[in-house]
Symmetry: C2
Subunit: 193 residues, 2 copies
């Protein structure tokens, strides 16, 4: 089988952890939608799912996305249109998985991301290599708040190694973490289809 | 001389370009302050300068930063305190250069960043290597809006190659671009002082 693998990203707002480790639902951050859509477009991601369980907040994201995808916003800023075209608002991780299956014809491999180290985590170069050499779909799962709940982590077939800088500080924004992860995974695909 | 080089970042709000190439002053984006401060802390940046010519907007950033650096905010979120402690609000690029000189004892090398290709741009691995092997200070210059003006670019001794993904799309947010640039330049310094 030949790559690159169809790559998808989902940003989960529930179930995620708060600072005390309790399971919560986070609110929508407008720039999470914009920034990760732009990074996704840059690195050839097929679709970027924003998952939120609250209908009113899903409707808000739909409205933001619609502004840039049609009418005035799409004419004012065509590059934002290109990025926002990747966004799909879903209820939860399951709906994102179903959408990938519909888009690619297969169930995706679920790869969790986390700022915390775990034994047996997947190094970035190993996943980058896999993505180059398979045509099976991959769904990268990012959490808001203080990270994905154990329930979500246990559903994933692997957890990417945390992004480490020069020291112990591991509090990147999810927007920055998604950008760095996509760069590490896909910058080697520059110029490839 | 031995590295790693003392590294500084400045985010310029004037003079920058608008979509039509005119020179403008952009407004402050709150998450530019937070996200780039967190990325800077992650990658061992010495100080992150937010440069803005309008006193009222500088005062706004000072107030945001003070919230997280002292009193309630610093106790509520110590990791945000650690990031926001790197932020210094300045008037312009010159004031950032002067602050680096005061902090490090030398004039910094100015390295511009841009989403546009130019002949002779500096590849990321070349700058990463330089940063590993010198103790001279470097100031990475990021622009808001549609990028740094020619006036700023011409003051820099080199321009980093643009961040390229898998295709031609080059519209990362400055928050994402700064995160990726720091990762490319400093991830190889993990665990080093």
């Amino acid at each position: 089988m030949t790559g690159p693998a169809p790559l998808y990203v989902v940003l989960v707002h529930h179930p995620v952890l708060d600072r005390d480790g309790a399971i919560v639902t986070t609110s929508i951050t407008n720039l999470d939608v914009h920034d990760i859509a732009r990074s996704a477009r840059t690195y050839g991601v097929r679709r970027y799912f924003v998952a939120h369980p609250i209908p009113g907040l899903r409707a808000l994201v739909e409205r933001i996305v619609a502004h840039w995808r049609s009418g005035w916003g799409s004419r004012y800023n065509p590059s934002r249109f290109a990025a926002m075209s990747l966004v799909e608002v879903v209820h939860d991780l399951d709906q994102a998985i179903a959408a990938v299956e519909q888009d690619s014809g297969r169930m995706p491999h679920l790869i969790a991301t986390s700022a915390k180290s775990v034994a047996g985590s997947l190094p970035f170069p190993a996943l980058a290599h896999r993505l180059e050499t398979t045509d099976e779909p991959y769904l990268l799962v990012f959490g808001t708040g203080y990270g994905l709940s154990d329930d979500v982590l246990s559903r994933c077939e692997a957890q990417l190694e945390p992004i480490r800088g020069t020291g112990d500080y591991n509090h990147l924004s999810v927007r920055a973490a998604a950008a760095i992860a996509l760069d590490r995974l896909r910058a080697n695909q520059q110029g490839k289809p």
